[in-house]
Amino acid sequence: MVRKLASIATLLAVLTGPGAAAQDDGAQEAVTAFTLDNGMQVVVVEDHRAPVLQHMVWYRAGSADEPVGSSGVAHFLEHLLFKGTDTMEPGELSATVAANGGRDNAFTSYDYTAYFQRVAADRLGLMMKMEADRMVNLRLSESDIETERNVILEERNMRTENNPAALFSEQMNAAQYLNHRYGVPVIGWKHEMETLDLEDALTFYRRYYAPNDAILVVSGDVDPDEVRQLAETYYAAIPANPDLPERLRSQEPPQTAARRLVFSDPRVAQPYVSRSYLAPERDPGDQESAAALYLLSELLGGGQTSFLAERLQFDTQTAVYSGAFYNGMALDNTTFDLVVVPAEDVTLEQAEAELDATLSAFLEKGVDPDQLERIKLQLRAAQIYERDDVAGIANRYGQALATGLTVADVQAWPDLLQAVTGEDILASAKAVLRPETSVTGWLMRDGEADQ
């Protein structure tokens, strides 16, 4: 019964780590993959139970690819892509999707920007035609810029400025990354968002929006041959961008000092302790340590029977909520995150001490084989349940390919998870849970005395 608190956890999972919420399980899906001559990758996921499809284009360009000084431009451009092109009026794409009974939207993260439509299965060609059009023919005016910049500032107000937990999370992330752009929020720092202009948006657009930087993911009631034929018609006609830059970001130096921060705000009602550690991500052909870390997160803080919950919520009742999170789908180093929401009469200092004592106890005690087996059983079952969610499968492929993984990596992942041993998990815990790569944060009520 942690609906309210789970929302805190979700927020942490989304905002503190690069990549979106944890979703790391593969399945034996009906997947077809191929690449167009211009370099555009295509993945088709079939599900013929209902006559609908989802059409997505993912660009390997997210906030971590932004130039210095223009944080938020990847997300700003995402908004601007709904303005006109040489042949479409502003808003016409969404209006056309709606007129065909569909829904459309888009999202931006550290490593990618993606656009999608959900629509009846016989409208794929029309979706491709419009998506291909705005890949290269965007037309923006100064008035688009000013209005839409206000919209993204209101979006930041809603998501971040009005939410002390989100502000706290930004500070945590900024402290975690000494040199990498993952330390800058996806939506952008407010003072830089305020200066974003037409040239910033167009520069980013021209640099990254090209078929050789894009992944097409079509899922639902579709035939792979038909998808290929339509993709050849609409996307293959766009030439590759020969000047597409290599994806090189400033990497983290060795982290050698534990960092601490306290964020106070009068709007905080429920204080909590947050801890993050720099952690390796899933790499192509090299996902074993990430698999171990994922299972570590499940064992430590994946639910009611996890090690943290057992000790902090049941045994000592020092926490009303505890959790651990790891998402390995990132291009560069990600984070392993922990949170403890203390019970009412427990101080943050006590909560943090309990967290550390519990981590030590885990490292000493090792992995409970029964618990590991239950988690693996649930992961196997998840592969069955996920066949009911083809859009989720499509998302997973899009996210994986946009963060440098291959289709083979996605398909190998479930077996890798099953192969992880208790020793692997303990070794990964010892490698990652190191104070010198960590950030510990206290979210507090303003004016509250140091505890």
Binding site: G101, N157, E161
Partner: protein, 437 residues
């Protein structure tokens, strides 16, 4: 994300899916009715149980009892304490979720065919023999209180509570179903047992099932799971009087962006004009980028990230609501634009072109609802609770298409009531003060 689709939009019309969905009505040997969509392509079943009444069944002075009781269902049952219960559920690779709202308590279960019997045994104990152990009660009470303290500082929650209190007064709809710090602190184990008895009864049960199960199997399952429920629970409260006058209520709160909820009286789900109202709302603020409110407030003026309107036809009262959020120095203009649009729709109605577009959108989007077994199970229950016929799926788009321009504009004039549209604004809005019409 370019836009948030507020979860609340989904309650406007919990309507069914595509023609490919074949609904069977199943009556168990013991007389329990369920709607079933058989789909044997994946070896699992989604089962949805809903009990009408929800948190509105809280006894006087026991606000939050149904919510706390619902939260404790997964905290131990029969021979299993909370920890053993959680381990058992994991070992069965099943998922339960329990939720309470103003009109319903819902139980959603997802289970593999191979584990069906064991999972149903566990769910039986969950409903009939929850333990409410003292340790679990205190732990979950702590979680609820923590949530209430957070809500007290959350502008959206503050606005929601102020709007409810203003609209429904002393009726259960007028207060937070989670209770207050004081009422939740005072709840006893006996209160939880009383809430359990008030909620779980045969006379208010609705069942939907989707997946790998036959009608015969479902019938037997329902009798074993629910056959021994008492015939009746606590009486449902009476209808709520909706009292909304025009004007603005400002709730001062130090935060950069003001959050506004606005609303007026609504329209009952069974009103013959409901479809006309539904189509009108799609045009005004129904969640797509094409709506008038999105166009005027966001696309033209950049005053907000999202503005929506939605019909909220509940069992005991109906309102027509909306929401917007803008920086403190811009919320005044957003409110003004919304008022203008509200009045314009009442006065001038919609054009034939707008009506056609909305119909095309609504009818074409219909198959998108068919989105997985669990979602469909929820839709099946919603249809039954709304007293819709088994063949509703085939006729739903006809009902949308049957709305004429004359209907739409007559209903716009009758329903939209700009004089009595009230705004609750939480924040430090510049140029807005509490006023009543």
């Amino acid at each position: 994300m370019r836009a948030l689709f507020a979860g609340i939009l989904l309650i406007v019309l919990a309507l069914p899916a595509v023609a490919a969905v074949k609904i069977q009505e199943v009556v168990s040997p013991g007389g329990i009715t369920a709607w079933l969509v058989e789909d044997h392509s994946i070896p699992f079943t989604a089962l949805e149980l809903r009990f009408r009444g929800g948190t509105s069944l809280d006894a006087p002075g026991k606000r939050g009892a149904v919510n706390l009781m619902t939260g404790l269902l997964e905290e131990g049952a029969g021979d299993l304490d909370a920890r053993a219960y959680a381990r058992e559920l994991e070992s069965l690779a099943a998922a339960f979720s329990f939720d309470s709202g103003p009109d319903t308590v819902s139980i959603s279960a997802r289970f593999l065919t191979e584990n069906r019997d064991k999972v149903m045994d566990l769910l039986h104990d969950t409903i009939h023999a929850p333990r409410f152990d003292a340790e679990a009660v205190e732990r979950v009470r702590g979680q609820v209180l923590s949530g209430l303290r957070s809500d007290a500082n959350d502008p959206d929650e503050i606005a929601g509570l102020a709007f409810r209190a203003m609209t429904y007064g002393d009726h259960p709809y007028g207060s937070d179903g989670q209770g207050t710090i004081d009422s939740v602190t005072a709840l006893t184990r006996d209160d939880l047992l009383a809430a359990q008895g008030a909620v779980f009864a045969r006379d208010r049960l609705y069942v939907g099932a989707v997946g790998d199960i036959s009608p015969q199997e479902l019938g037997a399952l329902l009798d074993a799971l629910l056959g021994d429920l008492p015939a009746t629970g606590a009486p449902l409260p009476g209808k709520a009087d909706v009292t909304i006058s025009g004007g603005v209520t400002v709730v001062p709160y130090a935060t950069p962006q003001s959050v506004a909820l606005f609303g007026q009286r609504g329209i009952d789900r069974h009103d013959p004009d409901f479809f006309a109202a539904y189509v009108l709302n799609t045009i005004l603020g129904g969640g797509s980028f094409e709506s008038r409110l999105m166009s005027e407030v966001r696309e033209k003026r950049g005053l907000t990230y999202g503005v929506y309107s939605y019909l909220v036809p509940r069992d005991l009262a109906s309102v027509y609501m909306g929401s917007v959020a803008s920086a403190n120095d811009r919320i005044g203009e957003a409110v003004e634009v919304i008022r203008t649009e509200w009045a314009r729709l009442a006065r001038d109605g919609v054009t034939a072109e707008e009506l056609d577009k909305a119909k095309t959108y609504l009818t074409g989007a219909y198959p998108l609802r068919f989105d997985g077994n669990e979602r469909i199970a929820g839709i099946l229950v919603g249809m039954q609770m709304d007293d819709l016929p088994l063949d509703y799926i085939e006729t739903r788009n006809d009902k949308v298409n049957a709305v004429t321009l004359e209907d739409a504009n007559r209903v716009a004039a009758e329903l939209l009531d700009p004089e009595h549209l009230h705004f609750v604004v939480v924040g430090q809005p510049e140029g807005l003060e509490t006023t009543t019409n």
